[in-house]
Symmetry: C2
């Protein structure tokens, strides 16, 4: 067998049986191997940002890495923005990038570029296979890296001759000896802090803590001790909805975050980062915690936060009896005009049991959390890297990972345009994704940021760089162009109806919410 | 004035008065400065690949750099593929990328990444401004780098606080002392080669040689000496059409290139590269020249090839009288079915005087050169870097540079989907671009490459990675979604009619050629 076949067989044997791809010439032997090796599902994207974002969404829902297949340096470059988001979410991806044949690189043909240099900023593991007999072992090492604790973006660069030359066969993925765990000492310290001054202690959680069970443990700890539990501003995935512990998040806006955080003398980090502003602004702090506030890390990314929370609850004798009953929240379908409140209410009512919510709603969605806390149980996925064009690919990959669950992708009109090609892959694969585009015809977040950075009142020419209303984007036409049925809504009643139908029907749908 | 204003004023004073942009928070002060500084035209793109490709197209037509404005590492990453193409075409671009405030970078906020690391592979000049008082001088240095010989991608990274802090004012662009010239010795050597064995000598031309006058000089030299003049496979810009010297290009397909090149004992390079295969293939050579063929470089990128050709023509006593009369070629509008031949013929008939042809026609367009040699005089722009998603942004930038000329963008359906967002910018700016999409519903080039690399006959699953027919892309709907009128054609007559109307009307149009 050749190198490409040895790699595909190694991937499948190693449990990496989905490949999101946009291949080119240098990857044709890999494509050919698909017909020889059973068990690899290949999903084509028309743009590489779709491919890498889908691999991110797949990992978040499945917990194991998918592979990608990208064409040389520029193909990788097109996928980097969503690799950035995936890296910040600690998603594992076996990111395979074709390269010229080893002996061809020196000739500086048109597509030649420094692929390793491009890969490094958004990868934690980078390797170029030197020859066909190394490809399987390198692939196995990439799988191990992608699956490590914390998971990583592992970029494997594959010169074309390593794909077509003779190889030896499958390589086994090295057994991961480093099992996710936690530090009992760190849990002891957290317990002491909570014993001492729970009223001024924030348990700041994210990552693997945000399962239904992890949240329930945090809820018991809060009930027992009186500490506050909050989430970061953004999370890779969070269990939410009826019956689950609903935590507030640190607000994005500095002026809202500071008064909340100033109450805490201690912050216990559960995978979370020190609370830091998303951007810097003139005369505003970057670090959001109060002066003198002591930060203690209980778990880091890659550690077992649920086990650590179990231990912490045990040390504090916190049990299910300590949980304060949550207020019952009634869900009523909204009527009348569409605004941020009625949109949030309509979505909360429409969320089906076990839905996957992919959130790139930006300014429209800043109030989505409170009403949806009462919705049917669901998972909520957010952008950890801040690079827009995140949601439609992540929704695509989540739907591939979970064909029996409904994916609802919430996206601003500006954000939707970066990787709109996702819709085609959703149509091609018949994926159960409802894309809701919030069409306010402006990069509304930038209008806010313009104020935030103290740039004054935007004049006509500055406004031209923020507004995207000339011409108006017609998302229903764009969806039709890629084979996805869509409709536009202008009232809450229309939105309720469109959502109910889209959720009920199989396959992808798009709703343009005209605000 | 603050740093952002000092930069915008420096750009305008330095002749860089167009900015293609997709800004974010860290660039808001630059956007605010647009209202304070007259003379900067800002053109918004909905995706960064549109922005960088437009800057490439602008440079190719205008000969002076435009600027870009991109948002942090991921915004730059999204623009890298077309920066790659621009770099390979030796286009000059002042590529401005926002960064977190200097003091904020260390906090590792979500959008933090290694921007310099991302920039280096596709830039020849990279600098991060350290403070507001340095921004103007750094901007001036970036302009000088972008304008140098050969021109460069100059990436200037602008931490947010360097934009909002107080600065000193405008900086002057350093005078370029290194004027483009050529080596008289290299011309002497070329003259000697042509004196000695012109019948076995190939004058291989590209770059600045491909003006109407440069080509006329090459034609005289060929007429006088009997040498062969050919172009590379791809060129940044080539003067073509009726009355201009039409040169053949080295074929992309190795089996076609080898028999042509085996006749030559000498190759004189005029900015061209050694003839190298685009990709490597098993058991085929990378280097296409005959064994023992001697290669002599007469001019390099950045040198004055027209002056060198003048000198060479002078040394050889080649004059206009030496030119062999070209065969008259009749242009007849095609009828009947659409195929590669009738499509080429229809386009040749429709090209208006002084049109700008942007060519990403891939397999459909491999035969476009012969018939269009008889078309009205035009410029022909090609992809030098091989990264698809090139043409619609380049057409956009070319139209901004030359509002009085008609731009015709020829693009395969697969390629069109990478940067389809260009259409919106064309509609917004009312640009005179006719986009012709060749909808064969397959990455046809990959079907050929699959054979080329010896991967056998593609099975069903491999074919799935090459064909894009499920679902069918509706480019008329996509164009409508972005405010561009479009129509689909299925016969040569319909295509003739659609082309004639699209060329006659102002503003952007799209024609989907269903093959």
């Amino acid at each position: 067998m050749n190198g490409a076949e040895s790699l595909v067989r190694t991937l499948v044997a190693g449990g990496v049986d989905v490949c999101f791809t946009n291949p080119g010439t240098s990857e044709m032997h890999f494509v050919a191997a698909l017909d020889k090796v059973p068990g690899m599902r290949c999903v084509l994207g028309l743009f590489e940002g779709v491919v890498t974002g889908a691999a991110d969404g797949y990992f978040r829902m499945k917990g194991t890495p998918a592979s990608t297949l990208l064409h040389l340096g520029p193909g990788l470059a097109n996928g980097l923005a969503n690799l950035h988001n995936a890296k910040k979410a600690h998603s594992g991806i076996v990111n395979i990038v074709g390269q010229h044949a080893t002996y061809h690189i020196g000739y500086n043909a048109p597509l030649t570029s420094d692929i390793e240099g491009l890969a490094r900023p958004m990868s934690s593991w980078v390797r170029t296979s030197p020859d066909a007999r190394s490809v399987a072992a390198d692939g196995a090492a990439a799988i191990a890296a992608a699956r490590s604790a914390p998971p990583q973006i592992a970029t494997l660069i594959l010169p074309a001759d390593t794909a077509w030359n003779e190889a030896d066969g499958i390589a086994e993925v090295p057994v991961d000896t480093q099992r996710p765990s936690y530090s009992p000492q760190a849990v002891d310290t957290a317990a002491k802090i909570l014993h001492g001054d729970a009223a001024h202690t924030l348990l700041l959680v994210t990552g693997s803590a945000l399962t239904e069970h992890g949240l329930a443990l945090a809820e018991r700890i809060a009930g027992k001790t009186g500490c506050t539990v909050m989430g970061q501003t953004y999370h890779p995935r969070m269990a939410r909805g009826r019956g689950r512990f609903s935590v507030n998040r640190i607000p994005y806006v500095i002026e809202q975050a500071l008064p909340i955080l100033k109450n805490f003398r201690h912050i216990v980090l559960v995978e979370a980062n020190d609370p830091v502003a998303f951007f810097a602004y003139p005369n505003k702090p970057s670090m959001l915690k109060a002066e003198g506030c002591e930060v203690h890390r209980m778990t880091a990314w890659g550690e077992n936060s649920v086990a650590a929370l179990e231990a912490l609850a045990g040390a504090l004798h916190a049990t299910a009896q300590d949980v304060k009953p949550q207020q019952h929240q009634e869900l009523v379908k909204p009527t009348g005009a569409l605004n941020h409140a009625t949109i949030a209410q309509a979505i909360a009512c429409a969320i089906p049991e076990n839905a996957i919510m992919v959130d790139e709603s930006v300014t429209t969605g800043r109030g989505f959390f409170p009403p949806t806390a009462a919705a049917a149980p669901h998972d909520w996925l957010q952008n950890m890297g801040g690079s827009i064009g995140f949601s439609t690919p992540v929704a695509t990959g989540a739907a591939v990972a979970c064909p029996d669950r409904k994916v609802i992708c919430m996206v601003g009109d500006g954000s939707a345009m970066y990787t709109i090609q996702s819709l085609w892959t959703q149509a091609r694969e018949g994926l159960n994704v409802v894309t809701i585009v919030f069409a306010n015809r402006i990069y509304q977040i930038l209008r806010g940021e313009f104020d935030g950075v103290g740039a004054g009142e935007p004049g006509k020419r500055a406004q031209d760089m923020l507004k995207i209303d000339r011409p108006t984007l017609d998302f229903v036409a764009l969806a039709k162009g890629m084979g996805v049925p869509g409709r536009a809504v202008t009232t809450a009643d229309e939105f309720n109806k469109a959502l109910a139908e889209a959720v009920a029907e199989p396959g992808p749908r798009l709703i343009e919410v005209q605000m």
